[in-house]
């Protein structure tokens, strides 16, 4: 059916506020990834969920960032006490997550553009 969806598409917030970004992966995909893309920079890995395994949080830039994935489907990325340097496009991707296949294709959502004033 539908591809990866993300909401909101744009978010403007004031420095110090908390924000929540949502990702709906493709149905049946067990792997979910969050990346962010800053102006002039490449995509930066943030966090990875695979099935019921503990997430790989090694890309989160600070403890202000957290993510959860409920019921193996929808994921929420939370940024607490936002800073201006958090301004970026936050991209979510999902993949089938076939066991032992490290090459399965990632399908990206359109992203959420976050602006911290």
């Amino acid at each position: 059916g539908a591809g990866v969806s993300q909401s909101p598409s744009n978010k403007v917030t004031e420095k110090g506020k908390d924000v929540e970004l949502r990702c709906d992966p493709i149905s049946g995909h067990t792997a979910l990834y969050w990346y962010r893309q800053s102006l002039g920079q490449g995509l930066e890995f943030l966090i990875y969920f695979q099935g019921n395994s503990a997430p790989d949080k090694s890309g989160l830039p600070s403890d202000r960032f957290s993510a959860e994935r409920t019921g193996g489907s929808v994921s929420t990325l939370t940024i607490q006490r936002t800073q201006q340097e958090d301004s970026a496009v936050y991209l979510c991707a999902s993949s089938l997550g076939v066991a032992g296949d490290r090459t399965d294709t990632q399908y990206f959502g359109p992203g959420t553009r976050l602006t911290v004033l």
Partner: protein, 113 residues
């Protein structure tokens, strides 16, 4: 840690010519390498994957090569069209055993008619 360099930020070519984009990596040889296309305001779209034991992979007008000795991949678009104008990203697994990716900054291709 692994680093990726896409050595041209922008590439301008005429319609009908072949575009060649370069991706170099600095550390361990990855098990595979991927190329994505990204249009403004959209997420990346997967194009091709090439494994470490493959020298070349083709898909329609696209060709990717992978040279583990040079630590380099070349991405070719033959008979380029204005619709091919976009940013092209090279991506590798973030760790040798992982699936999360590390991306290059991309090369923005402009094809003029």
């Amino acid at each position: 840690s692994q680093k990726i360099e896409q050595n041209s930020e922008a590439l301008n070519i005429q319609e009908g010519k072949t575009a060649t984009l370069t991706c170099n990596y600095t550390n361990y040889s990855p098990a595979y390498l991927q190329w994505y296309r990204q249009d403004p305001g959209r997420g990346p779209v997967f194009l091709l994957l090439i494994r470490e034991n493959e020298k070349e992979k083709r898909k329609e007008r696209l060709k990717v090569t992978f040279d583990t000795t040079l630590k380099q991949s070349l991405f070719h678009i033959t008979a380029s069209q204005p619709a091919d104008s976009a940013t092209y990203l090279c991506a590798l697994p973030r760790t040798q055993a992982g699936t999360a990716l590390i991306f290059g900054k991309g090369t923005t291709l402009s094809v003029s008619s």
